[in-house]
């Protein structure tokens, strides 16, 4: 019975999400939506070493997050045109500078041609999709369910940032291992970015979004203390998770 209800719920959710995908009227074109990650001004390469602050160097081993309800806002309008329902951005396999330059690209088709002034990107899984449903293995929420659905929260993990740090300068990154898993509906973020995008029918467009992982850790008095805050798993660490998620709007920009 429970399974039937879950299936029905998942079906309804999937139907409702597919209803968002209105077929555009008028001319369309292709758009590459590219995400690249940096640490400050440097390309983010997993296991490369970065100066975190005056006393600590770090490297990252995972940086991934869900994007959702990605939409473009035309010049002179507030109407959103959704271009991507939900997907998964992972820099986990970015392990050299070439891969860092390439980043992660989504090839979008049938994007309405026009002039756009803003890009809106949801970071995380929208509440209506953030359920324990039997998503297909090819759906972003199905493909990543085992690694990113955390039953204890009743939520997907919206983003994972993991790495290690060297605080004593001995070249060994065994002083701290941080693992920031960020999720629950309250932490969902919508990032609204100015763009100057002209999409012309028959001409492929490109939109390059930069995510600066360092910016996620900037605090008023310096950088987040990773030694004191290596994890964000429990409810009691929610405030740390929230403080990282809330900086996504500051960490993202369009190039």
């Amino acid at each position: 019975m429970l399974r039937t209800l879950l299936f029905l719920a998942a079906t309804l959710v999937l139907m409702s999400s597919s209803c968002r995908d209105k077929q555009p009227e008028g001319p369309t074109t292709n758009l590459d939506l590219q995400f690249v990650a940096t640490f400050g001004d440097q390309p983010l390469v997993m296991y490369d070493k970065y100066d975190y602050n005056d006393t600590m160097k770090v490297f990252f081993e995972r940086f991934n997050f869900f994007i959702s309800d990605v939409s473009l806002v035309p010049v002179g309008s507030q109407d959103e045109t959704e271009i991507l329902d939900i997907d998964f951005v992972s820099f986990d396999e970015v392990q050299d500078s070439l891969a860092a330059q390439q980043g992660v690209t989504f090839h979008l088709t049938k994007v309405p041609a026009g002039s756009y002034a803003r890009l809106r990107v949801g970071i995380g899984v929208p509440a209506d999709l953030n359920i324990d449903a039997d998503y297909s293995p090819t759906h972003p929420l199905g493909a990543n369910k085992e690694s990113h659905y955390w039953a204890g929260w009743g939520s997907y993990i919206f983003a994972k940032i993991e790495g290690k740090g060297d605080t004593d300068g001995d070249g060994q990154y065994d002083d701290v291992a941080f693992s920031h898993h960020l999720g629950t509906n309250e932490l969902y973020q919508t990032v609204d970015l100015p763009v100057a995008l002209e999409l012309v029918e028959g001409q492929d467009g490109l939109l390059k979004v930069r995510v600066d992982v360092r910016e996620l850790y900037v605090r008023d008095n310096g950088m987040l203390d990773l030694v004191a805050n290596p994890g964000t798993h429990t409810d009691t660490q929610l405030i740390i998770a929230q403080s990282i998620m809330e900086r996504f709007p500051l960490a993202m920009s369009v190039e």
């Binding site: 429970l2 690694s147 204890g152 993991e162």
Partner: protein
């Protein structure tokens, strides 16, 4: 004398005439390629029954499960015909009573040579979509099933020999016909054999009758003990009052694995090139994957000792001691592998929770047993 010749010629003529009046005999069958078309081919779809807390199993469209395919796969799985000296089958290293492992640290092949890795459980293997074997070198069950036959430290046979043995076997041509509709015995191939074995393996799904499953599926009267509940809390970091044992991140529900690859700190190395078994790195060629191995399912973990990819730990207590220690540092040791600070009682609580994952109805399912007995 002349009359005799005439009679003889007449007799020969009659004989030839009579012979020529017969229809031409059918061509002699090509050895090893007998027709099977008289055997009916009517495959019936087979549904994989899964517990309520499991998602539907993804089935590859080019190998749908049928009753007949699963039957064939089961016969093949348990048949030593796949080995060079007819002494070992898939089941030699994947026995139901050990949740389809072999109870050994590392497995021994037909030549007596031992490998370097422990036999992996096949429980819920149909859900393992991120590579198979400890290092993920095989993309799917159809590919995986081909490999042990020709591995010199496993069955040490050649597929052409196996195909020849199957084609002249008393039973298999009929089973292949019923499963795949082949018309001649010579159409029996390693690919079809692997498909059938994969079909059988996809049926190896949890019964849903473990204490854990019965509890989470709301069976009346089934409750965790206090110790099991504490173990559950620590395993999944539910309660802020209890330590976070960090288990669930790699062994998440419902399969108690994330099907991903980790360095869990069991190997003491000087650098990332120093791993005696590079594991996932051997497959990807990526130095940061060296020493990473697939996180195995913890379902039926009580039946699958010894533990780790090389069977180095004999007991769950040893496993908990390792994780509690934080293991050995390497740049790619998972960040969640860290000293946990668990007390003896807390370690035992986690072991007691792990025991709730024991699923004897699965191991004793008659449909999974040796059909040759």
């Amino acid at each position: 004398m002349r009359a005799g010749r005439i009679l003889l010629l007449s007799a020969l003529a009659l004989l030839l005439g009579a012979t020529s009046c017969k229809q031409d005999p059918p061509p002699a069958p090509q050895p090893g390629c007998e027709s099977l078309t008289e055997i009916p081919y009517d495959p019936k779809p087979k549904e994989v029954v899964v517990p309520p807390n499991f998602p539907p199993m993804p089935i590859p469209p080019d190998n749908p499960l049928t009753e007949e395919g699963v039957v064939l796969g089961r016969y093949l799985f348990y048949d030593p015909i796949l080995s060079s000296d007819s002494t070992m089958s898939c089941a030699s290293c994947h026995m139901p009573e050990f949740s389809f492992t072999d109870g050994q640290a590392v497995s021994e092949g037909v030549t007596g040579e031992v490998g370097t890795r422990s036999s992996m459980s096949l429980l819920n293997v149909g859900y393992f979509l991120n590579g198979l074997f400890w290092d993920g070198r095989s993309p799917d069950l159809e590919d995986q099933a081909l490999q042990p036959v020709e591995n010199p430290i496993e069955l040490h046979e050649q597929w052409p020999n196996v195909e020849a043995k199957l084609r002249r076997h008393a039973l298999y041509p009929e089973l292949f016909r019923k499963a795949f509709g082949i018309e001649h015995t010579c159409e029996i191939t390693k690919e079809l054999a692997a498909k059938a074995i994969a079909q059988f393996e996809r049926t190896l799904v949890s019964s849903g009758q473990s204490k854990y499953d019965r509890r989470v599926n709301g069976e009346p009267g089934v409750f965790f003990t206090e110790s099991e509940l504490r173990g559950f809390d620590m395993f999944f970091d539910i309660s802020p009052e209890m330590p976070d044992a960090e288990c669930g991140h790699c062994h998440n529900v419902p399969f108690f694995t994330t099907n991903d690859y980790f360095n869990n700190g069991i190997e003491e190395v000087t650098d990332l090139n120093d791993f005696p078994d590079k594991g996932r790195g051997e497959v990807t060629g990526n130095i940061f994957d060296n020493g990473k191995f697939r996180a195995p399912t913890l379902r039926n973990i009580t039946l699958t000792a010894p533990y780790m990819h090389d069977g180095r730990f004999q007991t769950l207590e040893e496993v908990l001691d390792h994780y509690n220690s934080g293991g050995h540092y390497a740049d790619n040791r998972d960040p969640l592998i860290r000293p946990l600070g668990l007390t003896e009682e807390q370690k035992q609580d986690i072991i007691n929770f792990l025991k709730t994952l024991e699923d004897i109805p699965f191991t004793e399912n008659p449909e999974f047993q040796n059909p040759w007995h």
